[in-house]
Amino acid sequence: MSYGDREDMEHIPEGVLHAYLDGQLAGAEAAGAPEGGRERQEIEVHLAECAECRGRLEEVRRVRDRADSILSASGPVEVSPPPFEEILARSRVQATRRRVFRLNRVTALGWAATIVLAVGVGWIARGSLGFREAVAPEASSVAADTVRALLSQAVDEELANEVTGTPTEDQARLRQSELAKSRIAAGVEAPVAAPAEVAAQQEPALERKFADADAREREEAQRLKEVVEADVPAPPAAAPARQRIAVAGERRGVAAGRRDSISRAREAGDSLALREQARAEAVAQQVAALGAVAAADSLAMQYIATAEATWLVVDQTTAREYLDGPIATIQGLPAVSYAVSAIQGRRAVRITQRLESGGALEVIQQEVTARPADAFRRRVEALEAAPAVALDSVASVSVKWGDYVITARAKLAPDSLRALLANIRD
C-alpha cells in the first residue's frame, strides 16, 4: 500500500499511525520481513512529503502518550513478585485439594441425583399403597425445585472453578455441565408423573399393591443405578458424601447405593411398612381432626413425628430457607445431614447429628401451625420403608420450642434424650 502517490490517494489512516508509533506495522514482528519494512518505508516517504499527515502523527503521538500516562497512574504502587517457589508450593496444595474436592463434589452430585430420583420412585410406591386420598405432590415439588436449583448451581460452580483458558477445554466442560444439568432436570421431573398413577388406581388389596410397587421400585432402582453409576463411579475415598446420603437412603430403603443395601432395607421396610402404615394413617387422621396440635408431648404428636415421611436430603442453607426460621440442633454434636419434608401440611426439617458414641441422633423439627399457603390437608405423608434399625429400640422424646415441636430420636433411653434436648440451640 502506498500513500499519497497521486493527489487523490488517501492519507495515512489513524489506525496505521498508531501501529506505526507502536512499532507494530504488519509483518514488523518477523525480523527483516520485507512487507513490514516496506510499509514503514512508504509511510516515512509520505510523511516527508505530507504536512497534514505529519500534523496528524503528532496528534496521535500526543493521545498515545496521554493514554499511557493515564493508565500507568492507575497501577498498584509496588509489585514485588514473590519467589517462584511459592507458585510451585501453591500448585501442589491445590492439586491435592482439587482431587478430593472433585471426588466429593461429583460423587455428591451423583448421589444427590439418586436421591431425587429415589423420591420419584417413592411417590410411585406410595401411590400404590392405596391411600384413600391422593398424596399431595406440592410439598415435594417445592423441595424438588429447590434441589434442582441447588444442583444446577453446584454444577455451575464446579465449572467456574475449572477455568483453564483453553477454549476447547472450556467447551468440553460446558457440555459436561449441560449434560449433568439436563440429567438432573430429568430426574427431578420424575415425581410429577406419579400422581396421575395414583388417580388411576382403584382400591385393591394392600398386599397386591405393595407387590406391584415393589416390582416397579426394583425397575426404577436398577435404571437409575445405571444412570448414576455409568458416569459417576463411587470411589472409596468419597466416604463423607456417601455416609451422609446413606443415612437417609437406608431409611427410605430405595436405591441409594449398592444392591445389597437396597434389598436389606426393602426387607425391613416390607414387614414394617404394612403394619405401620395403617397405624400412622389412623393416628394422623385423628390429629388432623383436632386441627393444629396443642400439646407438645401428646402421643399423637410424637407419633406423627416418628412416622416415616418423605424426606428430601438437602444442605443446611436449603433447609434453613425451606423452614424460614431457626433450625434447632443439639449443641455440641456435629450435624451429619439435613432433610426437609412436609408433615400434615406443616414444614419439617430433620437434622441428623452424631452422638459421642458414634450413633445417630435425629432431631425432627416441625411447625406447630400450618402455613396459609400449604393449606392444612387431611393427608398422610406416605410411609416409606422403615429404617434398617428396628423401630422399637429407638426412643423418641418431643418438646415444644417456640413455634415448633422438636422430636429427638436415637437409640438411647428417654431420659438421655430429654437431657440432650435441654441443649437445643438454633
Partner: protein, 167 residues
C-alpha cells in the same frame, strides 16, 4: 519444548498484576489472581506462554466478577471511596485514590473490546497476540487502539473537569 515457567514468571508477573489490577481494582486480589494464573499455567505447554497467561488471567478476573455478582456482593468501590473521602487523611493518598477512581471510571466508559485491547497492549502484548486473544483481525488492532486511546483521554479529561468543579 518445555516451557520455562520460572523464567516467564520473572518477566511477566508484574505486567500480569498490573493488567489484573485494572480489571479487579484491588491490588491484593490482582496479586492473588496473578499467582493463581501461574499455578494453572504449570500444567500446560502453550505456544505463547505470555499471551496464554493473559487469557487465563482475563478469565479469572471475569469469573471472579461473575461469582461476586452471584453472591450479591457489588463492587461499589466508586461509591464507598466517595464516602471515605470525608474521613481520609493525607492529600497525596487522596489524590492517588481520586486518580485511580477517575481512571477506573474512564475505562468503564470504553467498550469491552476496546478496553481489553488497551489493557493488553499496556501489559506488553504485541498486536498479533492481542488479535489472538480478542478475536479481532490483526489489521484492526491499530484502529481499535486508536479509538480506545482517544476515548480514554476524552473520558478522563471530562471526569477530571467534573472533579475540579466539585471541589
Amino acid at each position: 519444548m518445555r516451557v520455562d515457567w520460572a523464567e516467564v514468571y520473572r518477566t511477566t508477573f508484574e505486567d500480569l498484576v498490573r493488567f489484573l489490577h485494572r480489571k479487579v481494582w484491588d491490588p491484593d486480589r490482582a496479586h492473588d489472581l496473578a499467582q493463581e494464573a501461574f499455578v494453572r499455567a504449570l500444567n500446560h505447554e502453550p505456544d505463547n506462554p505470555r499471551a496464554w497467561l493473559f487469557t487465563v488471567a482475563g478469565n479469572l478476573a471475569r469469573d471472579e466478577a461473575r461469582a461476586a455478582i452471584r453472591r450479591k456482593r457489588h463492587l461499589t468501590l466508586i461509591k464507598t471511596e466517595a464516602a471515605e473521602q470525608a474521613v481520609t487523611d493525607p492529600a497525596q493518598e487522596l489524590e492517588h485514590e481520586q486518580r485511580m477512581r477517575a481512571v477506573r471510571e474512564a475505562l468503564a466508559r470504553l467498550s469491552e473490546r476496546d478496553r481489553d485491547a488497551l489493557l493488553l497492549w499496556g501489559a506488553g502484548l504485541s498486536y498479533g497476540e492481542i488479535a489472538a486473544e480478542t478475536g479481532l483481525a490483526p489489521g484492526a488492532i491499530g484502529t481499535t487502539l486508536a479509538r480506545a486511546r482517544r476515548r480514554l483521554v476524552e473520558a478522563y479529561d471530562a471526569l477530571e473537569e467534573r472533579d475540579v468543579v466539585r471541589r
